[in-house]
Symmetry: C2
Subunit: 222 residues, 2 copies
């Protein structure tokens, strides 16, 4: 038996792993899931097996051809470069690529890391932030990011159903999981009609539907 070509260490509700599942799906790639339970028993990501794979103790980790890849955006870039025959997640021109990457990073650098599990745990443990204070924190950074993204898309994005024109790409891979997170935390999304339109176009595609948290093998009823 040969080892699977692509192995994804993720978690159904991890927003960063969700991005990579979408990217793999958009490219028509087949992968094997290795769920890492982020909550049970203090978090499997802190166990020796996962730490050996990723000293950052985070998901996702993608294994490919003996390589261990970390950081969701670096993985999405890698997929474009290592599988050149598949649909690209970035446009061809440098200006378009910069625009898509900036939208992806708006979420991946300036929204998501602030609302990560490890940060919520620190806020509760070290700063005695109760559930309401943590919810305000979460909503604050998401709303700030979504408002800027809504404006950037209106100002700069070429017309089309997605973050950049008529094909989904790296920015859409980040937006959809972030909106999923926002609903989970009760953030009001009514002020971001463009983001919701794009989300609707994305969710109509099989790659996005298959990547949804509830569709994952490790999803549990909550």
């Amino acid at each position: 038996m040969t080892a699977p070509a692509l192995v994804l260490h993720g978690y159904w509700r991890s927003s960063a792993a969700y991005r990579v599942r979408i990217g793999l799906g958009l490219k028509g790639l087949v992968w094997q899931d290795r769920p890492v339970h982020l909550v049970r028993d203090g978090g499997e990501q802190h166990g020796a097996a996962h730490v050996a794979l990723n000293p950052q103790q985070l998901v996702p980790v993608l294994e490919h051809a003996g390589r261990v890849l970390t950081q969701s955006l670096a993985i999405l870039e890698y997929l474009d470069e290592a599988f050149p025959g598949t649909p690209a997640l970035l446009p061809a021109d440098p200006a378009g690529r910069a625009q898509v990457r900036a939208l992806a990073q708006l979420i991946a650098c300036d929204v998501h890391p602030l609302n990560n599990l490890r940060v919520m745990q620190y806020l509760g443990r070290e700063l005695a932030a109760d559930e309401a204070a943590r919810a305000r924190w979460t909503a604050h950074w998401m709303e700030e990011g979504f408002a800027a993204m809504e404006t950037l898309l209106a100002q700069r994005s070429p017309p089309g159903d997605f973050c950049h024109g008529d094909r989904p790409g790296q920015a859409d891979c980040c937006l959809v999981p972030q909106l999923y997170n926002a609903r989970r935390f009760g953030v009001d999304l009514g002020r971001y009609p463009r983001l919701l339109q794009i989300e609707q176009a994305c969710l109509a595609l099989p790659a996005f539907a298959a990547a949804a948290p509830e569709a994952q093998p490790d999803a549990v009823a909550v």
Copy 2:
């Protein structure tokens, strides 16, 4: 008089602007600085002129050929693609590129955004975190990131003076400003000898020296 080809809207102490200055310098590009004062009068980044450039109200912003580029890592990628004759900030092979990007994102996604000015302001204002609590917060995320980076560099980096082999690149552009920040906040760096070695190799290069906060036109004595 022709408009300058490259205009950088930054701030001397902004870690993300510092990354872009290093990248521009490593490529031998010439640019014009347009300082945005992040603190004075509530922050010039929130004023109409800057908001029109970047709805995220953050620096850096790079203007080039009528394009307005945001997000430091997207800008560094753009520089590689728009100026192909200049020294590349990423290696040529997909695996090496993924490794360098993952190191850059470790800092740009998982360390820096948590210690940004806007986050420190929120912690003080909304969560009543005093100076000591904010210092612990800052140190916590930096130490977590630096420890993981030290391990990743030992495990995966090819030999050489920099984050990836014998030439500085995207990861070094992120590491040096983050170490600068760490010292500013009194973080003990003794546990990260590899990071300090790389920093030393970087700081010996003119592009890094010229990009240092204290060498900027808007630097003020503090």
